[in-house]
Assembly symmetry: C2
Homo-oligomer: 720 residues x 2
C-alpha cells in the first residue's frame, strides 16, 4: 500500500534532529487538511489526559455491587445510575425503554437416573447462590425428557459428521456438549436439528478450568461448580426481541405470537458445571473418545449412547420484560445530522465485572471526558451519541430494538457505530468495516500502551509477530503498513448497526493477558477483575483514550476517513479463500466468481484514484475547502458507502441480515462468514444460491464503485 | 532389491492354475538347495501343527499363581517347574545357577511435609498388597532427604534443557518425573546428574491410565494405585551383576566392592502411583506447565520448585542373591558346535502374566514341539539351546551372567540368538540384525495370522500401511520387498548376545492390539491377560510357530541365510540420518563420514555379488554340495560376520558395549542409537571422538567386506 508511514518516520527523524517541530508540518491525520492538524492534535491530547483509573474503578465498584440481569430490577438500577452520572457531567441524557420476550426458569432438574442416581444443580454451593440468577440458557424450550446420553464433543457440524461416520445417532437422545469452539446457540440448534430431545452444555476443565490454570479464587479459571449461562436464541436468523423481528418492540406494529417466533429453540437445554457433568459422563460407554474429543475430567471419555440415562426438566415463565437503554447525545455544530454512535451494554448475567462492566465503565469515562472537553470550549462538527445498552446478554435486545425503532433516522444519519464490550489487560483488538482499517490503525499509533513504553499499535503488532504461526504469517505482518483488522460476525451490539442497517462499524477492546474461566458465571466479580485482569484500570484508561480519539477524529474530520482500497484488498482475500475451498471440494460444479473479482479490481482502481485525489486535497487550505457545497455531499457519499453493500432480500433464510460482506455464520453463530451469500451457498452445496449471490455481490460492488467515483470527482472539484 | 517375490508369486500362480504342485519346484527357502526345500517344508508344517493354546494357558496358569521375583523363592519355584516340564518332554535340560547383587527395600517412606501433610504408599490397598514385592526401583541408593519438589515432565535431556531455559535448577531438590518417553533409568540418572537429591517417578493417567481407556478391573489401563516397579541400574554402562562387569559372577574372577560398581544410582528413587502423586503435585506452584508437560490429573500442572516439600526415605538390604537360568539343549547332528539359542526370561516383578510369562510359555511350547519333532524322527543339523532366564527385570542379570560365563564358547559357537519377552494380541514385531531382515520376513510370510485370514507378514504390512504417517511412508512400505526390521537397543535379554558378544540376534513378539497400563504392577495378572490380551492364546500359538520356524530353518539351513545388502542399505540410511542431523547443528565443524559411506558402498557390492553366487548355488543338487570342505568354512564365515562389527575398546565410557552398529543410547536407555560411536559423538559435540569412530566403523566394515568376499568365493567354488 502507500509509503505514508516511511515518510512519517523520516519526518519524525527530521523533527527530532532539528528539535524545532513547529517549523515542519506535524504528522498528517487522514481526513484533516494540513492546516487543521495541529488544532486537532491539541484537542486529542486534551481528551486523552481526561480519563482516570480511579473513576473507572469507582463506576465498576458501584455497578457490580449486585447482580444486574436485564429484565430484572438490578438492571434498571444500573441504568438509573448511569443516567445520573451522565447527567451529573452535564450531558443531555435519557433512558429509552423498550421490551422483549424474556423467559426465566421456574424449574430446572437434571438427574442421572441410570446406571446410578445423581441429582445435578443441587450440591453446587457457588452457582446455586440464591441471590444470583439460576443457571440456564435463555430461549431454550420447556420440557421434561428422559433419555440416554450421547457425548457430542463441542457439538459442531464437524462433530456431528464424525458421529455419523461412527454410526452414532442422537435421535431421541439427550446430548451433552462442551462449551467452546462454537457459540452455544449453535450447539443447541444442531442438537435439535439432529433429533436430540434435550441438550446439556458443560464447561470442560480442559477448555477454561484447571487444565488451563489455577481456578477461582486462587487463580482466574473456572472452578468445579462454575456454570456458563448464556442465550441460545437463534441469532443467526435475527437478534433482538423474538416477537418483533425487524421492527421496534414498542412501536405500533403488532408483535408475533410466541408460536410464530423464528428464533426460539424447540428442545430443553441447560448449562451445567463440570462438577455436575462428571457423574453423567463417567458412566458413558461405547466408543472411547478420540484424543481431540477428550477433555480434562479424571475419567475415560466415551461417546455413548448410554448407559447413562438422564432426566432433563425445564419449566419457564414466558414474560415480556422492560429494557432500559441509556442514551446521551452531544449535538454536532456543523453536521448535526451525522451521528457517531458509541455503545456498550450494561446488563450482565451476574455482577458482571468483566462482562460487560469493564467496557461500560470505559464508555462512561469517555462520555465524561467529552463532557469535560465541551466545558473546555470544544464543539464537535458531528453529533456524538453514547449508548449503554440493556439486554445484550439475552440476544442483543436493547441495541436491536433501539436501532429498529430509529431505523429510518439511523439509515439517514448514522455515520459509524463504535462498539465495545468486555475489555481487560493485554493488547488492542480491532475489528470492523475494512474501509476503516487504515483509520483505526492510525488511531492506535497515537495511544500509549500503559505497560510497554510504546504505542498500543506497536504492542499489538509485536504480539501478532510473537504468536504468528509461521514465517509466512510473520512476513505478511512485517510487510504490511497496517495491521489487518478482523471481520465482525455477531456476539455484541454492533450486529444491528453493521448487519441490518449496514452502517460502517468498529469493535474495539483490550485483552489476551487476562484469560480465565469466569465468563457468564457468578465468579465474574469485582474481586476477580481486580486480581486477574486490569485491576489498576490502566488498560481501561487506554481503552477510553482509544475510543475517545476514534470518536474525536470521526466527529471533526473534514473528510470522513474511509479507504476503499483496503476493502477491495480484504474482499479479494475472501474471494480467494472461497475459491480455494470450493476447488478443494470433490466433484463440485464450477461456480464462477469472476464478476466479483472484476468488480473488486474496479473498486481497487476507484479507491486508489480517490486516495490520490485526497492526498492533493489535504494540502489545500481549510478556508478554500470549508463551506464549499461539495463537502457535505462528499461526506454523505462516504458514510453511506457501506449501505451499498446491503441487499434488501438479505441472506438466504434470514432477510434481517442485509450486509453482503459480513454476517455471523448460519452454523457458526458468533463466528463470521465473510461474503456469506456466496460462501455459505457453496459450503451447503446450494449452487444456484451461490450463483445468485455472485450477482448480488457484484451488483452491490458496482453501486459502491459508482459512489466512490463520484466521491473522487467531488474531491477533485474541491482541490481545484 | 531382488525380484524374488514377484517370481514367487508367478510360480504360485502357475501352481494354482495347474493344480499339480508336485510338477513344479516349491517356493524356495533362502539357504536351502532346490532339492532340499520339500523336505524342509514338510518338517516345518509338522512343527507348526504342534503348539497348542491349551498348553500355553496351562503353563501360564501355573506360573502366575504366585509372584515370582528373581532372587526370591517364587522364582526358584518357577525355574523348577520349567525344568520339570522340559525334562518331562524328554529334553536334555538343567538349571544353571548364577548370582548378582540384588538389593531389596527394608523401608520406603514418601511424605509431603509442606504445605500440608500427606503420607504416600500407605493408603494404597492394591500395590501395598503384603504378598507382593513392595513397589520400588531396583538399584536406587539408600537415603533420607527432605527437599522442595520440582516437576520435570518425563525427565528427558530435552526436559532439563527446557528447565534451564526457564531458569529452574533442580540442584538440592527432589524431582518428580512421569513414566514414559524415556527409560526410567535415564530419569534417575539425569536427576542425579543435575544435582537432585532424590527422584520420584509416577505413572500419569494421561500416559497409561484413565486418559487412554478404562482402568483395571473394568478395562486394561492403570488404576489409581497402580505402580510401575522397575530397575534403574545404569544399563547403558553395562547390564548384569553390578559387581562382575564383563565376567560371570560365579567364575573365579573376584567381584567388585559395591563402592566400585559403575551401574548403581547414587540418590534415592521411588516409583509411585498417580493416586500418591496427585497430593504432591497439586501443591506445586511457580510456572504453569506448558501443554506438552501436562498430564491428565485433575489439577493445574505447575513446575515448582515447591512449595510442596517432600521427604523421601529409602533403606535397603544389599545382598547377593541366587539366580536360576533353565537351559535345554538339542544337539546338532551335523554341526554340533553351531548353536541356535532362543531365550525368554521367567522372572517377574509380580505374577507377571504378560511380562514375561506370555513369552516364556511360548518358548516352553516351542521347546515341547521340538522335543516332539525329535520323537517323530527329526534331527537338527545344528545345536538348539532353549534358555529361560532369571533376573531379567533387575538388569538382564541371568542372561548376562550366563553369557559372560560361557563367553569363549559362545564367541566360537554362537550362530544366532533369538529373543522373546512379553507377547500379546496384535501384529508381529521384528527387530534385530539387519543381515537377517530378509530371512525373518520370509519366515513371517509362512505363518498364518490367527484372526485375519492372511499371513502374519501380510497383517504386519497392512498394519504399517494403516499407521504410516504420510504418503511418503506408505509409498516406502509399498515399494519394499521386505518390511524393515527395527534396530535393537536394550531392554531385554538379547543385549549381551548382540551388544557384548556381537552374535547376530533377533527379537520377536506380537502386540499392538492389547494395550494397557499394568506394566510392572500387581495388575499384570492371569485375569488381566485373559480379559485384555491374548486370552485364547491364539497369538501365543502363532508366536511359537514363528519362533519355531525361525529356529528350524536356522538349525537345518545348508547355508545360513544372511544378507549383507540389507545391512549395507540400512546402515546407509543411518549414515544419512546422522549427516542430516549434524548438518542441522549450528556452527558444528565438518566431520567427514566419507570413509563409512565408501565402505558401505563396497559392502553393498560384495553383498550383491554374494547373493548372486548364492542364487546359482541353490540350484545345485545337495549331493554335490554336502560334504564339500568349503561348506563348513562358509557357514562359519557367515555366522561370525556380525563379530566383525565389534570393537574391543567398546563405545566411549562403556567398553562392555562392543557392537559398532547397535547400542542402547547413553541418554536414551532402552532406545537404540545406531552407529553409536559416531552418532553420540556428534550429538554430544565430541568431534574428535566422532572422527575416531569414523575410523573404527569403516575399519570394521572393511573386515566384514573381506569376510563376505571370502564367503562369495567359497560359494563360487561350491557351485562349480
Amino acid at each position: 500500500m502507500s509509503d505514508r508511514h516511511t515518510f512519517s518516520k523520516l519526518v519524525g527523524l527530521v523533527v527530532a534532529l532539528t528539535a524545532a517541530s513547529s517549523l515542519f508540518a506535524a504528522e498528517d491525520i487522514k481526513g484533516f487538511l494540513a492546516d487543521e492538524v495541529d488544532q486537532q492534535r491539541a484537542w486529542e491530547e486534551k481528551l486523552r489526559a481526561l480519563p482516570q483509573p480511579a473513576n473507572l474503578r469507582e463506576y465498576m465498584r458501584t455497578i457490580t455491587e449486585e447482580p444486574h440481569i436485564a429484565g430484572l430490577p438490578g438492571s434498571k438500577k444500573v441504568a438509573d445510575y448511569i443516567l445520573a452520572q451522565f447527567q451529573s457531567w452535564g450531558l443531555n441524557a435519557w433512558i429509552e425503554e423498550t421490551q422483549a420476550l424474556m423467559p426465566l426458569p421456574t424449574e430446572r432438574h437434571v438427574e442421572l437416573v441410570e446406571p446410578e442416581s445423581y441429582v445435578a444443580l443441587s450440591n453446587d454451593k457457588d452457582s446455586a447462590d440464591a441471590e444470583q440468577l439460576p443457571t440456564y440458557n435463555a430461549y431454550a424450550a420447556e420440557g421434561d425428557v428422559t433419555a440416554q446420553l450421547v457425548y457430542v464433543n463441542y457439538g459442531t457440524p464437524e462433530d456431528y459428521e464424525q458421529l455419523a461416520e461412527w454410526g452414532i445417532d442422537v435421535e431421541g437422545k439427550i446430548v451433552i456438549a462442551r462449551y467452546g469452539r462454537s457459540w452455544r446457540g449453535i450447539k443447541a440448534k444442531l442438537a435439535q436439528t439432529h433429533g436430540a430431545v434435550g441438550c446439556l452444555i458443560y464447561s470442560d476443565p480442559r477448555d477454561d478450568g484447571f487444565y488451563q490454570g489455577l481456578t477461582y479464587p486462587e487463580g482466574p479459571y473456572r472452578p468445579e461448580h462454575g456454570v456458563q449461562r448464556g442465550s441460545i436464541m437463534d441469532m443467526p436468523i435475527h437478534p433482538g426481541d423474538p416477537l418483533s423481528p425487524g421492527f421496534g418492540a414498542m412501536t405500533d406494529q403488532p408483535r408475533l405470537d410466541i408460536a410464530q417466533a423464528q428464533t426460539l429453540v424447540k428442545i430443553p437445554v441447560l448449562p451445567i458445571s463440570y462438577g455436575d457433568a462428571l457423574p453423567l459422563l463417567k458412566h458413558l460407554r461405547g466408543r472411547v473418545a478420540p484424543e481431540d474429543w477428550r477433555g480434562a475430567l479424571p475419567m475415560t471419555y466415551h461417546i455413548g449412547p448410554g448407559p447413562s440415562k438422564v432426566r432433563l426438566k425445564l419449566a419457564l415463565e414466558w414474560k415480556t420484560r422492560p429494557l432500559y437503554n441509556v442514551i446521551a447525545r452531544i449535538d454536532g455544530a456543523v453536521y448535526p445530522d451525522q451521528w457517531i454512535i458509541h455503545g456498550n451494554h450494561h446488563d450482565a448475567w451476574n455482577n458482571g465485572a468483566n462482562d460487560p462492566t469493564s467496557g461500560n465503565v470505559a464508555l462512561m469515562e469517555t462520555a465524561r471526558s467529552f463532557a469535560e472537553l465541551v466545558k473546555q470550549g470544544w464543539k464537535p462538527k458531528r453529533t456524538i451519541v453514547f449508548a449503554s445498552w440493556d439486554g445484550e446478554e439475552w440476544g442483543l435486545l436493547g441495541s436491536t430494538e433501539w436501532a429498529e425503532t430509529h431505523k429510518d433516522e439511523l439509515m439517514e444519519k448514522g455515520v459509524i457505530y463504535i462498539n465495545s464490550d468486555s475489555t481487560g489487560k493485554g493488547w488492542l483488538n480491532m475489528s470492523g468495516s475494512h474501509t476503516l482499517q487504515e483509520f483505526v490503525n492510525d488511531v492506535a499509533r497515537d495511544i500509549d500502551d500503559p505497560e510497554r513504553g510504546m504505542s498500543v499499535w506497536d504492542a499489538a503488532r509485536a504480539r501478532r509477530l510473537d504468536s504468528a504461526d509461521d514465517d509466512d504469517a510473520r512476513a505478511e505482518i512485517e510487510q504490511s503498513d497496517d495491521l489487518r483488522i478482523g471481520a465482525l460476525g455477531s456476539g455484541s451490539d454492533y450486529t444491528v448497526f453493521l448487519d441490518h442497517l449496514t452502517m460502517a462499524s468498529l469493535n474495539l477492546g483490550f485483552g489476551g493477558d487476562s484469560n480465565g474461566g469466569v465468563y457468564h458465571s457468578n465468579y465474574d466479580s469485582f474481586t476477580w477483575y481486580q486480581k486477574h485482569s486490569d485491576g489498576e484500570f490502566l488498560f481501561g484508561r487506554a481503552m477510553s483514550q482509544t475510543v475517545g480519539t476514534t470518536i474525536l477524529r470521526l466527529a471533526d474530520a473534514t473528510v470522513l476517513p474511509f479507504n476503499f482500497v483496503d476493502l477491495a484488498d480484504t474482499m479479494s482475500r475472501y474471494v480467494n479463500e472461497i475459491e480455494q475451498a470450493h476447488a478443494a471440494r470433490d466433484s463440485a460444479p464450477d461456480v464462477d466468481l469472476g464478476a466479483v473479482t472484476e468488480a473488486l479490481e474496479k473498486l481497487r482502481e476507484a479507491g486508489e484514484a480517490y486516495e490520490s485525489s485526497l492526498g492533493r486535497l489535504s494540502t489545500m487550505s481549510s478556508s478554500a475547502v470549508h463551506g464549499q457545497p461539495q463537502l457535505a455531499r462528499l461526506n454523505q457519499l462516504l458514510y453511506t458507502s457501506e449501505r451499498r453493500l446491503a441487499h434488501d432480500e438479505g441472506l438466504p433464510n434470514r432477510e434481517w441480515y442485509r450486509h453482503q460482506v459480513y454476517a455471523p455464520g448460519f452454523y457458526t453463530g458468533y463466528g463470521v462468514k465473510t461474503i456469506p451469500g456466496i460462501r455459505e451457498g457453496l459450503e451447503e452445496q446450494e449452487w444456484e444460491e451461490a450463483r445468485y449471490y455472485v450477482n448480488v455481490v457484484s451488483e452491490a460492488l458496482e453501486g459502491l464503485i459508482a459512489q466512490v467515483q463520484e466521491a473522487r470527482s467531488l474531491v477533485e472539484q474541491l482541490s481545484n
